[in-house]
Symmetry: C2
Subunit: 327 residues, 2 copies
Amino acid sequence: MKIAIDAMGGDHAPREIVLGAIEACRELNAEVILVGDEAAIKRELGNETLVGLEIEATTEVIEMDEHPANAVKKKKNSSLVVANRLVKEGRAAGVISAGNTGAGMTASIFTLGRIAGIKRPAIASPMPTKKGVSVLLDAGANADCDPENLLQFAIMGSVYAEQVLGLANPRVGLLSIGEEETKGNMLTIEAYKLLKKAPLNFIGNIEGRDVHQGVCEVIVCDGFVGNIVLKLSEGLATTLFGQIKEALGSSFTAKLGGLMVKNSLRQIKNRMDYTEYGGAPLLGLNGISMIGHGSSNAKAIKNAVKATIRAISQDVPGKISTTLEKL
Amino acid sequence: MKIAIDAMGGDHAPREIVLGAIEACRELNAEVILVGDEAAIKRELGNETLVGLEIEATTEVIEMDEHPANAVKKKKNSSLVVANRLVKEGRAAGVISAGNTGAGMTASIFTLGRIAGIKRPAIASPMPTKKGVSVLLDAGANADCDPENLLQFAIMGSVYAEQVLGLANPRVGLLSIGEEETKGNMLTIEAYKLLKKAPLNFIGNIEGRDVHQGVCEVIVCDGFVGNIVLKLSEGLATTLFGQIKEALGSSFTAKLGGLMVKNSLRQIKNRMDYTEYGGAPLLGLNGISMIGHGSSNAKAIKNAVKATIRAISQDVPGKISTTLEKL
């Protein structure tokens, strides 16, 4: 099975993308197709010749700040659009891009198409917690949602958590502002009624304070809330670690102590590290599309390849479809 | 000016509430009326006799888990309801309660009444940031909002930030999921249009990652999002500090280093400390009502008294009303 990777997408493209692809071939025996500017890719590859690594040459690049829908429509020969097309044509089994998120979603939705019955695809973002990892969705694909969207997010998230993250019988929590069924906004109060009847391990509402406690493996919310939760978590963790670093340089004693606790602090920081999980899949499509963090490095790309392979092997789209039919 | 304090509200009531009232009288020369079970309050007061400290005896208490509206309607002689009534009757100038938040809001809204033109009162929660403090509203009073609600929150938050927190010409940010005017959900996209025309220092959309960076002094969002942001921030900070504490006990070197950096870490933790700000005002009412954190200690109560006195002296309700008229 081949994975198409948009070699031109991301803050550190093509360098880190190509390096990640090399690691994936070496360490995972993966087969990848690097899609992008042939000369640039070859420059990064240097003397590397790897079985299982192909290049698909393209001539256009969608930039980070381009309007997603317009860019996808106009740039038919961009690395992003072609990488998605390879999946549609059966030449690749899944696609990864760390470029313009909106364009990545648009290209995948229009090229791969939605699973029958799925109203809105959603981005399922892995979230490090105190106890391991949860998956939060929607992380930003749909700013406005209806209760049925949230029900479908719960189903898609459960399948992904179980099949790809290996979390058996994942608990599903609805992110709200009170534990009782009657607490929340109009959206979550209605969604609660659908969730409790669905074939899911639904544990009810969870609150903001529970998100990082690992009380459930699947956290369901609309894309507006999900995006704020993700970015807030990233921002707060960065701020706190920044303040700690600063404080540890503030006096001789603190400096000396800081050297002694450095490793312990790094371990905690690593636990929060998104590169461990590689990327966030756009679930609900007839195929696997992985959205990478804009600042993806080689390790993130390698891990995105790993997750993509697993999602394909476990037939995530097929299992989502089967669960939908049980409703 | 006298401040009515619900002596029976909060996880540590009446002890910490009474101690906080004593500190407020001593350190701020405040005049307070402790409202609640007379015997219990006297027991906590011990031999204290303070000029400026009165007791208003009541016989009922609204518990933390009671249904807000029902409890307020039924328990007319509860400490919470009576404390609000003292303001209505002109015997006190403001009210503070750290008890059942929903009941506190209900009692204040029905007893004090809304400022003419204000559609929905909002809880304005102080948020510690990298650079100082911002005020976030609504922090949970209104789960579902319309664009005009958000505009009014922005006005109320600006007045409070300027008059009580002393932040001149406060910048107002609309919490959304992209910087551009066209990014967000239906609510924020419409609210943006109203905010940019209002007599405010509106800086546009901010994202989740900006919340703790201190990019603006007033953060506007609906109460569902606001409540999640607050609880998520509290939860994540607690989790991270918990992990750090654990890591610092993991080896001899880390333990020794931990002792040396203890003070530096405590300083950071203190900066995140809600007790510094005492409580969150319920803005939009004809009077000042301060909602305390359920776990308020004496220091939080003292600081809530301080903020309440300042809000009254600066005539926050009057200034909100004047700004509304400029729209």
